[in-house]
Protein backbone atom coordinates (compact mmCIF):
# COMPACT_ATOMS: atom_id res chain seq x y z
CA UNK A 1 0.00 0.00 0.00
CA UNK A 2 1.40 3.41 -0.91
CA UNK A 3 2.26 5.64 2.06
CA UNK A 4 1.14 8.94 0.61
CA UNK A 5 -1.35 9.29 -2.15
CA UNK A 6 -1.24 12.50 -4.13
CA UNK A 7 -4.60 14.16 -4.65
CA UNK A 8 -5.44 14.94 -8.25
CA UNK A 9 -6.75 18.33 -9.40
CA UNK A 10 -9.93 18.11 -11.46
CA UNK A 11 -12.32 20.56 -13.05
CA UNK A 12 -15.86 19.69 -13.97
CA UNK A 13 -19.31 21.16 -14.42
CA UNK A 14 -22.24 19.83 -12.45
CA UNK A 15 -25.69 21.07 -13.41
CA UNK A 16 -24.06 23.95 -15.24
CA UNK A 17 -21.95 25.07 -12.29
CA UNK A 18 -18.13 24.85 -12.61
CA UNK A 19 -16.08 23.23 -9.85
CA UNK A 20 -12.36 23.01 -9.30
CA UNK A 21 -11.30 20.44 -6.71
CA UNK A 22 -8.55 18.11 -5.58
CA UNK A 23 -9.65 14.52 -5.08
CA UNK A 24 -8.16 11.31 -3.82
CA UNK A 25 -7.86 8.93 -6.82
CA UNK A 26 -10.01 6.24 -5.20
CA UNK A 27 -12.92 8.59 -4.59
CA UNK A 28 -15.92 7.42 -6.59
CA UNK A 29 -17.91 9.92 -8.59
CA UNK A 30 -21.05 9.29 -6.52
CA UNK A 31 -19.13 10.13 -3.33
CA UNK A 32 -17.78 13.30 -4.88
CA UNK A 33 -21.33 14.37 -5.71
CA UNK A 34 -22.81 13.43 -2.35
CA UNK A 35 -20.00 14.11 0.13
CA UNK A 36 -18.03 16.96 -1.46
CA UNK A 37 -20.68 18.82 -3.46
CA UNK A 38 -23.58 17.98 -1.13
CA UNK A 39 -25.74 16.81 -4.05
CA UNK A 40 -27.42 13.96 -2.22
CA UNK A 41 -30.16 13.36 -4.78
CA UNK A 42 -27.90 10.84 -6.50
CA UNK A 43 -28.29 7.70 -4.43
CA UNK A 44 -26.10 4.76 -3.53
CA UNK A 45 -28.17 1.60 -3.82
CA UNK A 46 -26.30 -1.65 -4.39
CA UNK A 47 -22.84 -0.10 -4.85
CA UNK A 48 -22.06 -3.02 -7.22
CA UNK A 49 -22.94 -1.63 -10.70
CA UNK A 50 -26.32 -3.33 -10.62
CA UNK A 51 -29.17 -1.15 -9.44
CA UNK A 52 -28.70 2.18 -11.23
CA UNK A 53 -29.78 4.38 -8.28
CA UNK A 54 -26.53 6.32 -8.79
CA UNK A 55 -27.18 7.03 -12.50
CA UNK A 56 -26.15 10.50 -13.69
CA UNK A 57 -25.54 11.91 -17.16
CA UNK A 58 -21.87 12.43 -17.99
CA UNK A 59 -21.49 14.43 -21.20
CA UNK A 60 -25.03 13.34 -22.03
CA UNK A 61 -24.49 9.62 -21.45
CA UNK A 62 -26.13 7.76 -18.56
CA UNK A 63 -23.47 6.24 -16.32
CA UNK A 64 -23.39 4.53 -12.93
CA UNK A 65 -21.54 7.00 -10.76
CA UNK A 66 -20.58 4.25 -8.28
CA UNK A 67 -18.46 2.71 -11.04
CA UNK A 68 -16.44 5.72 -12.15
CA UNK A 69 -13.66 7.39 -10.22
CA UNK A 70 -14.13 11.11 -9.68
CA UNK A 71 -10.78 11.75 -11.40
CA UNK A 72 -12.27 10.30 -14.58
CA UNK A 73 -14.90 13.04 -14.63
CA UNK A 74 -12.17 15.67 -15.11
CA UNK A 75 -13.39 18.03 -17.84
CA UNK A 76 -16.85 16.43 -17.93
CA UNK A 77 -20.27 18.03 -17.88
CA UNK A 78 -22.54 16.24 -15.41
CA UNK A 79 -26.27 16.36 -14.92
CA UNK A 80 -27.81 15.08 -11.69
CA UNK A 81 -31.40 15.10 -10.48
CA UNK A 82 -30.79 18.47 -8.80
CA UNK A 83 -30.27 20.00 -12.25
CA UNK A 84 -33.67 19.01 -13.63
CA UNK A 85 -35.94 21.56 -11.95
CA UNK A 86 -35.89 25.01 -13.57
CA UNK A 87 -37.19 28.17 -11.88
CA UNK A 88 -39.21 26.19 -9.37
CA UNK A 89 -40.85 24.13 -12.13
CA UNK A 90 -40.37 20.39 -12.21
CA UNK A 91 -38.89 18.96 -15.41
CA UNK A 92 -41.65 17.38 -17.58
CA UNK A 93 -40.17 13.93 -16.86
CA UNK A 94 -40.29 14.58 -13.11
CA UNK A 95 -43.84 15.82 -13.38
CA UNK A 96 -44.91 12.74 -15.37
CA UNK A 97 -43.41 10.41 -12.76
CA UNK A 98 -45.48 12.18 -10.10
CA UNK A 99 -48.66 12.31 -12.16
CA UNK A 100 -48.42 8.61 -13.12
CA UNK A 101 -47.47 7.39 -9.63
CA UNK A 102 -44.23 6.19 -11.19
CA UNK A 103 -42.61 6.04 -7.77
CA UNK A 104 -43.34 4.82 -4.28
CA UNK A 105 -40.36 5.09 -1.93
CA UNK A 106 -38.53 7.19 -4.52
CA UNK A 107 -35.08 5.79 -3.90
CA UNK A 108 -34.56 4.67 -7.52
CA UNK A 109 -36.32 7.70 -9.03
CA UNK A 110 -33.34 10.06 -9.59
CA UNK A 111 -31.56 7.33 -11.55
CA UNK A 112 -34.68 6.48 -13.54
CA UNK A 113 -35.25 10.14 -14.42
CA UNK A 114 -31.76 10.42 -15.88
CA UNK A 115 -31.98 7.13 -17.78
CA UNK A 116 -35.28 8.39 -19.21
CA UNK A 117 -33.60 11.63 -20.27
CA UNK A 118 -30.89 9.74 -22.11
CA UNK A 119 -33.59 7.71 -23.87
CA UNK A 120 -35.39 10.90 -24.97
CA UNK A 121 -32.13 12.43 -26.20
CA UNK A 122 -31.99 9.61 -28.79
CA UNK A 123 -35.64 8.77 -29.27
CA UNK A 124 -38.55 11.10 -28.59
CA UNK A 125 -41.25 8.48 -29.21
CA UNK A 126 -39.98 5.21 -27.74
CA UNK A 127 -41.92 1.98 -28.07
CA UNK A 128 -42.58 -0.06 -24.94
CA UNK A 129 -39.73 -2.38 -25.88
CA UNK A 130 -37.34 0.55 -26.25
CA UNK A 131 -38.47 1.91 -22.88
CA UNK A 132 -37.83 -1.45 -21.25
CA UNK A 133 -34.37 -1.62 -22.73
CA UNK A 134 -33.59 1.96 -21.71
CA UNK A 135 -34.31 1.35 -18.02
CA UNK A 136 -33.05 -2.24 -17.80
CA UNK A 137 -30.16 -0.92 -15.72
CA UNK A 138 -32.42 0.69 -13.12
CA UNK A 139 -33.93 -1.47 -10.40
CA UNK A 140 -37.17 -0.46 -8.67
CA UNK A 141 -38.28 -2.65 -5.79
CA UNK A 142 -41.64 -0.92 -5.17
CA UNK A 143 -43.63 -0.25 -8.29
CA UNK A 144 -43.35 -3.35 -10.46
CA UNK A 145 -42.39 -0.90 -13.24
CA UNK A 146 -45.85 -0.58 -14.84
CA UNK A 147 -46.42 2.95 -13.60
CA UNK A 148 -42.86 3.84 -14.55
CA UNK A 149 -43.62 2.87 -18.16
CA UNK A 150 -46.81 4.93 -17.96
CA UNK A 151 -44.75 7.85 -16.64
CA UNK A 152 -42.25 7.61 -19.48
CA UNK A 153 -45.08 7.47 -22.01
CA UNK A 154 -46.78 10.45 -20.41
CA UNK A 155 -43.49 12.37 -20.34
CA UNK A 156 -42.95 11.64 -24.04
CA UNK A 157 -46.47 12.87 -24.77
CA UNK A 158 -46.08 16.01 -22.64
CA UNK A 159 -42.75 16.90 -24.20
CA UNK A 160 -44.22 16.41 -27.67
CA UNK A 161 -47.20 18.67 -26.85
CA UNK A 162 -45.02 21.31 -25.20
Amino acid sequence: MPETIEKVPIQLRVNGKPYSLRVEPRMLLVELLREELDLTGTHVGCDTTYCGACTVLMDGAAVKSCTIFAVQADGADLLTVEGLEKDGQLHPVQKAFGDSYGLQCGYCTPGLLLSTLQLFSENKEPTEKQMRKAIAGNTCRCTGYQNIFKAIQLAAQNMKDA
Binding site: P25, V71, A136
Partner: protein
Amino acid sequence: MYPRAFHYHRAGTLKEAASMLSELGDEAKLLAGGQSLIPLMKLRFANPTHLVDLNFIPGTSYTKEDNGAIRFGPLTRHAEIDSSAAAARIPIIHDCAAGIADVQVRNRGTIGGSLAEADPSGDWATVLLTLSTEVRCLGTKGERIVALADFIRDAYTTALEHDELLSEVVVKIPPEGSGGAYLAFKRSAPVYPTASAAVQLTMDGVVCQDAAIALGCVGLTPIKPKEAEAALRARPITAKAIATAVEAVRAAVDPQSDMRGSADYKRTLAGALVERAIEIAVRRARGEQVEVNHIYA
Protein backbone atom coordinates in the same frame (compact mmCIF):
# COMPACT_ATOMS: atom_id res chain seq x y z
CA MET B 1 -17.28 0.82 -0.64
CA TYR B 2 -13.83 2.18 -1.27
CA PRO B 3 -11.07 0.40 -3.13
CA ARG B 4 -7.66 0.28 -1.51
CA ALA B 5 -5.76 3.52 -2.08
CA PHE B 6 -3.78 3.73 -5.31
CA HIS B 7 -1.64 6.17 -7.27
CA TYR B 8 -3.33 7.58 -10.35
CA HIS B 9 -1.51 8.09 -13.66
CA ARG B 10 -3.05 9.54 -16.77
CA ALA B 11 -1.51 8.36 -20.03
CA GLY B 12 -1.42 10.74 -22.99
CA THR B 13 -0.72 8.07 -25.61
CA LEU B 14 -0.95 4.27 -25.75
CA LYS B 15 2.83 4.13 -26.00
CA GLU B 16 3.17 6.22 -22.87
CA ALA B 17 0.75 3.86 -21.10
CA ALA B 18 2.99 0.89 -22.03
CA SER B 19 6.05 2.78 -20.71
CA MET B 20 4.20 3.54 -17.48
CA LEU B 21 3.38 -0.15 -17.06
CA SER B 22 7.02 -1.00 -17.63
CA GLU B 23 8.23 1.57 -15.10
CA LEU B 24 5.60 0.97 -12.43
CA GLY B 25 5.96 -2.82 -12.42
CA ASP B 26 3.61 -5.63 -11.49
CA GLU B 27 1.47 -3.58 -9.14
CA ALA B 28 0.17 -1.40 -11.96
CA LYS B 29 -3.05 -1.99 -13.85
CA LEU B 30 -4.73 -0.27 -16.77
CA LEU B 31 -8.08 1.46 -16.40
CA ALA B 32 -10.25 1.36 -19.53
CA GLY B 33 -14.05 1.47 -19.11
CA GLY B 34 -13.71 0.22 -15.55
CA GLN B 35 -17.00 -1.67 -15.57
CA SER B 36 -15.29 -4.89 -14.47
CA LEU B 37 -12.18 -3.53 -12.78
CA ILE B 38 -13.79 -0.92 -10.52
CA PRO B 39 -16.30 -3.42 -9.01
CA LEU B 40 -13.41 -5.86 -8.44
CA MET B 41 -11.40 -3.09 -6.77
CA LYS B 42 -14.34 -2.11 -4.57
CA LEU B 43 -14.65 -5.72 -3.43
CA ARG B 44 -10.85 -5.66 -2.94
CA PHE B 45 -10.40 -8.66 -5.20
CA ALA B 46 -8.14 -6.40 -7.26
CA ASN B 47 -5.77 -4.11 -5.33
CA PRO B 48 -3.45 -2.37 -7.76
CA THR B 49 -0.97 0.12 -6.30
CA HIS B 50 -0.95 2.13 -9.52
CA LEU B 51 -3.74 2.72 -11.98
CA VAL B 52 -2.92 3.96 -15.48
CA ASP B 53 -5.98 5.66 -16.95
CA LEU B 54 -6.38 5.21 -20.72
CA ASN B 55 -9.60 7.21 -21.00
CA PHE B 56 -7.97 10.55 -21.81
CA ILE B 57 -5.91 9.26 -24.75
CA PRO B 58 -7.29 10.81 -27.93
CA GLY B 59 -8.09 8.69 -31.00
CA THR B 60 -8.58 5.37 -29.22
CA SER B 61 -12.32 5.08 -29.80
CA TYR B 62 -13.28 4.19 -33.37
CA THR B 63 -14.68 1.55 -35.69
CA LYS B 64 -13.41 1.71 -39.23
CA GLU B 65 -13.57 -0.49 -42.27
CA ASP B 66 -10.26 -1.04 -43.95
CA ASN B 67 -8.98 -3.66 -46.35
CA GLY B 68 -11.74 -6.23 -45.76
CA ALA B 69 -11.60 -5.87 -42.01
CA ILE B 70 -13.21 -3.83 -39.25
CA ARG B 71 -10.78 -2.15 -36.87
CA PHE B 72 -11.93 -1.31 -33.38
CA GLY B 73 -10.04 1.15 -31.22
CA PRO B 74 -9.22 -0.32 -27.81
CA LEU B 75 -11.38 2.21 -25.95
CA THR B 76 -14.40 1.92 -28.24
CA ARG B 77 -17.44 1.72 -25.94
CA HIS B 78 -20.06 -0.97 -26.44
CA ALA B 79 -22.67 1.74 -27.09
CA GLU B 80 -20.62 3.17 -29.96
CA ILE B 81 -20.25 -0.26 -31.50
CA ASP B 82 -24.00 -0.84 -31.09
CA SER B 83 -24.73 2.12 -33.36
CA SER B 84 -21.79 1.64 -35.75
CA ALA B 85 -21.83 0.70 -39.43
CA ALA B 86 -19.81 -2.39 -38.48
CA ALA B 87 -22.64 -3.64 -36.28
CA ALA B 88 -25.16 -3.02 -39.06
CA ARG B 89 -22.97 -5.03 -41.41
CA ILE B 90 -22.11 -7.95 -39.11
CA PRO B 91 -25.25 -8.83 -37.10
CA ILE B 92 -23.49 -10.97 -34.48
CA ILE B 93 -21.46 -7.89 -33.49
CA HIS B 94 -24.68 -5.96 -33.04
CA ASP B 95 -26.19 -8.77 -30.93
CA CYS B 96 -23.20 -8.53 -28.64
CA ALA B 97 -22.78 -4.77 -28.39
CA ALA B 98 -26.50 -4.10 -27.89
CA GLY B 99 -26.95 -6.81 -25.27
CA ILE B 100 -24.07 -6.32 -22.83
CA ALA B 101 -25.45 -5.47 -19.38
CA ASP B 102 -27.44 -2.22 -19.54
CA VAL B 103 -27.31 1.25 -21.10
CA GLN B 104 -25.09 2.69 -18.38
CA VAL B 105 -22.51 -0.09 -18.61
CA ARG B 106 -22.56 0.00 -22.43
CA ASN B 107 -21.83 3.74 -22.29
CA ARG B 108 -18.59 3.09 -20.38
CA GLY B 109 -17.39 -0.46 -21.05
CA THR B 110 -14.93 -0.98 -23.89
CA ILE B 111 -14.19 -3.79 -26.34
CA GLY B 112 -10.47 -3.70 -25.52
CA GLY B 113 -11.11 -3.82 -21.80
CA SER B 114 -13.50 -6.74 -22.17
CA LEU B 115 -10.98 -8.82 -24.15
CA ALA B 116 -7.99 -7.91 -21.97
CA GLU B 117 -9.95 -8.68 -18.78
CA ALA B 118 -10.74 -12.19 -20.16
CA ASP B 119 -13.57 -12.70 -17.71
CA PRO B 120 -15.00 -16.19 -18.35
CA SER B 121 -18.45 -14.58 -18.33
CA GLY B 122 -17.55 -11.74 -20.68
CA ASP B 123 -19.36 -11.40 -24.01
CA TRP B 124 -16.86 -10.10 -26.58
CA ALA B 125 -14.34 -12.96 -26.53
CA THR B 126 -17.10 -15.53 -27.11
CA VAL B 127 -18.51 -13.61 -30.08
CA LEU B 128 -15.22 -12.64 -31.69
CA LEU B 129 -13.88 -16.21 -31.52
CA THR B 130 -16.50 -17.13 -34.15
CA LEU B 131 -15.08 -14.50 -36.51
CA SER B 132 -11.54 -14.19 -37.80
CA THR B 133 -10.18 -11.86 -35.10
CA GLU B 134 -6.72 -10.60 -34.28
CA VAL B 135 -5.61 -8.27 -31.55
CA ARG B 136 -2.65 -5.91 -31.69
CA CYS B 137 -0.53 -5.89 -28.55
CA LEU B 138 1.60 -2.80 -28.02
CA GLY B 139 4.55 -2.87 -25.66
CA THR B 140 7.67 -0.88 -24.96
CA LYS B 141 9.53 -3.12 -27.42
CA GLY B 142 7.04 -2.71 -30.25
CA GLU B 143 3.80 -4.12 -31.52
CA ARG B 144 2.79 -7.72 -32.29
CA ILE B 145 -0.35 -9.27 -33.71
CA VAL B 146 -1.95 -12.22 -31.93
CA ALA B 147 -4.91 -14.34 -33.06
CA LEU B 148 -7.72 -14.01 -30.53
CA ALA B 149 -7.73 -17.78 -29.97
CA ASP B 150 -4.09 -17.53 -28.82
CA PHE B 151 -4.69 -14.31 -26.89
CA ILE B 152 -7.22 -15.76 -24.43
CA ARG B 153 -5.17 -18.16 -22.31
CA ASP B 154 -7.21 -18.84 -19.19
CA ALA B 155 -9.71 -17.19 -16.87
CA TYR B 156 -8.58 -13.54 -16.47
CA THR B 157 -5.35 -14.43 -18.28
CA THR B 158 -4.23 -13.30 -21.73
CA ALA B 159 -1.10 -13.39 -23.85
CA LEU B 160 -0.33 -9.77 -22.88
CA GLU B 161 3.03 -9.26 -21.23
CA HIS B 162 3.06 -7.05 -18.20
CA ASP B 163 4.24 -4.01 -20.16
CA GLU B 164 1.89 -4.60 -23.09
CA LEU B 165 -1.60 -3.38 -23.80
CA LEU B 166 -4.23 -4.20 -26.35
CA SER B 167 -4.03 -1.44 -28.96
CA GLU B 168 -6.53 -2.56 -31.61
CA VAL B 169 -9.03 -5.32 -32.42
CA VAL B 170 -9.16 -6.39 -36.07
CA VAL B 171 -12.10 -8.45 -37.29
CA LYS B 172 -12.18 -9.79 -40.84
CA ILE B 173 -15.48 -9.11 -42.59
CA PRO B 174 -17.18 -12.49 -43.17
CA PRO B 175 -17.63 -13.60 -46.81
CA GLU B 176 -20.89 -13.24 -48.76
CA GLY B 177 -23.56 -15.68 -47.64
CA SER B 178 -22.52 -15.48 -43.98
CA GLY B 179 -24.77 -15.00 -41.00
CA GLY B 180 -24.37 -15.25 -37.27
CA ALA B 181 -26.16 -14.82 -33.98
CA TYR B 182 -25.24 -14.34 -30.35
CA LEU B 183 -27.69 -15.27 -27.62
CA ALA B 184 -27.26 -15.01 -23.88
CA PHE B 185 -29.51 -16.25 -21.12
CA LYS B 186 -29.54 -13.87 -18.17
CA ARG B 187 -31.43 -13.49 -14.93
CA SER B 188 -31.64 -9.74 -15.58
CA ALA B 189 -29.93 -7.19 -17.79
CA PRO B 190 -27.11 -5.93 -15.53
CA VAL B 191 -25.77 -9.37 -14.58
CA TYR B 192 -23.42 -11.68 -16.45
CA PRO B 193 -25.15 -14.38 -18.52
CA THR B 194 -25.82 -17.83 -17.08
CA ALA B 195 -24.68 -19.17 -20.45
CA SER B 196 -24.22 -17.72 -23.92
CA ALA B 197 -23.77 -19.02 -27.45
CA ALA B 198 -22.29 -17.48 -30.59
CA VAL B 199 -22.77 -19.12 -33.99
CA GLN B 200 -21.35 -17.85 -37.27
CA LEU B 201 -22.13 -19.71 -40.52
CA THR B 202 -21.16 -19.29 -44.15
CA MET B 203 -23.75 -20.83 -46.47
CA ASP B 204 -23.63 -21.75 -50.14
CA GLY B 205 -27.30 -22.25 -50.92
CA VAL B 206 -28.49 -24.86 -48.44
CA VAL B 207 -25.01 -26.22 -47.80
CA CYS B 208 -23.03 -24.91 -44.86
CA GLN B 209 -19.52 -24.14 -46.04
CA ASP B 210 -18.12 -23.04 -42.74
CA ALA B 211 -19.34 -23.02 -39.15
CA ALA B 212 -17.89 -21.46 -36.04
CA ILE B 213 -19.40 -21.87 -32.58
CA ALA B 214 -18.30 -20.50 -29.21
CA LEU B 215 -19.91 -20.91 -25.81
CA GLY B 216 -19.57 -18.40 -22.99
CA CYS B 217 -19.81 -18.77 -19.19
CA VAL B 218 -19.50 -22.55 -19.35
CA GLY B 219 -15.75 -22.92 -18.83
CA LEU B 220 -12.69 -20.97 -17.74
CA THR B 221 -12.48 -19.49 -21.24
CA PRO B 222 -15.01 -19.40 -24.09
CA ILE B 223 -15.29 -22.93 -25.47
CA LYS B 224 -15.06 -23.77 -29.18
CA PRO B 225 -16.86 -27.11 -29.65
CA LYS B 226 -14.95 -28.53 -32.63
CA GLU B 227 -17.17 -31.58 -33.09
CA ALA B 228 -20.28 -29.43 -33.12
CA GLU B 229 -18.75 -27.23 -35.81
CA ALA B 230 -17.82 -30.32 -37.82
CA ALA B 231 -21.40 -31.60 -37.53
CA LEU B 232 -22.59 -28.54 -39.48
CA ARG B 233 -19.77 -28.06 -41.94
CA ALA B 234 -19.91 -29.18 -45.61
CA ARG B 235 -23.53 -30.39 -45.48
CA PRO B 236 -27.07 -29.01 -45.48
CA ILE B 237 -28.26 -27.77 -42.09
CA THR B 238 -30.96 -30.30 -41.37
CA ALA B 239 -32.74 -30.99 -38.10
CA LYS B 240 -30.52 -34.03 -37.74
CA ALA B 241 -27.31 -32.02 -38.24
CA ILE B 242 -28.49 -29.48 -35.67
CA ALA B 243 -29.32 -32.24 -33.18
CA THR B 244 -25.84 -33.73 -33.62
CA ALA B 245 -24.25 -30.32 -33.12
CA VAL B 246 -26.30 -29.65 -29.99
CA GLU B 247 -25.31 -33.03 -28.55
CA ALA B 248 -21.65 -32.22 -29.26
CA VAL B 249 -22.05 -28.83 -27.55
CA ARG B 250 -23.41 -30.50 -24.42
CA ALA B 251 -20.39 -32.81 -24.41
CA ALA B 252 -17.87 -30.00 -24.99
CA VAL B 253 -18.89 -27.52 -22.31
CA ASP B 254 -17.38 -27.57 -18.85
CA PRO B 255 -19.66 -25.52 -16.61
CA GLN B 256 -19.37 -24.98 -12.86
CA SER B 257 -22.38 -25.14 -10.57
CA ASP B 258 -22.94 -21.78 -8.92
CA MET B 259 -25.72 -19.41 -7.88
CA ARG B 260 -26.74 -19.02 -11.53
CA GLY B 261 -27.48 -22.72 -11.96
CA SER B 262 -26.16 -26.26 -11.67
CA ALA B 263 -23.63 -27.62 -14.14
CA ASP B 264 -26.32 -29.85 -15.68
CA TYR B 265 -28.67 -26.95 -16.10
CA LYS B 266 -26.02 -24.86 -17.86
CA ARG B 267 -25.09 -27.79 -20.11
CA THR B 268 -28.70 -28.10 -21.25
CA LEU B 269 -28.97 -24.34 -21.60
CA ALA B 270 -25.85 -24.10 -23.78
CA GLY B 271 -27.32 -26.70 -26.14
CA ALA B 272 -30.65 -24.90 -26.36
CA LEU B 273 -28.99 -21.53 -27.03
CA VAL B 274 -26.85 -23.02 -29.81
CA GLU B 275 -29.93 -24.55 -31.43
CA ARG B 276 -31.69 -21.17 -31.52
CA ALA B 277 -28.55 -19.35 -32.63
CA ILE B 278 -28.04 -21.78 -35.55
CA GLU B 279 -31.59 -21.18 -36.76
CA ILE B 280 -31.16 -17.41 -36.65
CA ALA B 281 -27.70 -17.60 -38.27
CA VAL B 282 -29.11 -19.61 -41.20
CA ARG B 283 -31.91 -17.09 -41.74
CA ARG B 284 -29.50 -14.17 -41.58
CA ALA B 285 -27.12 -15.88 -43.99
CA ARG B 286 -30.04 -15.89 -46.44
CA GLY B 287 -30.27 -12.13 -46.02
CA GLU B 288 -33.27 -12.10 -43.68
CA GLN B 289 -33.37 -9.34 -41.08
CA VAL B 290 -33.82 -11.11 -37.75
CA GLU B 291 -33.87 -9.22 -34.47
CA VAL B 292 -32.14 -10.99 -31.60
CA ASN B 293 -32.83 -10.34 -27.97
CA HIS B 294 -31.12 -12.00 -25.07
CA ILE B 295 -33.40 -14.18 -22.99
CA TYR B 296 -34.17 -12.97 -19.50
CA ALA B 297 -35.27 -15.48 -16.88
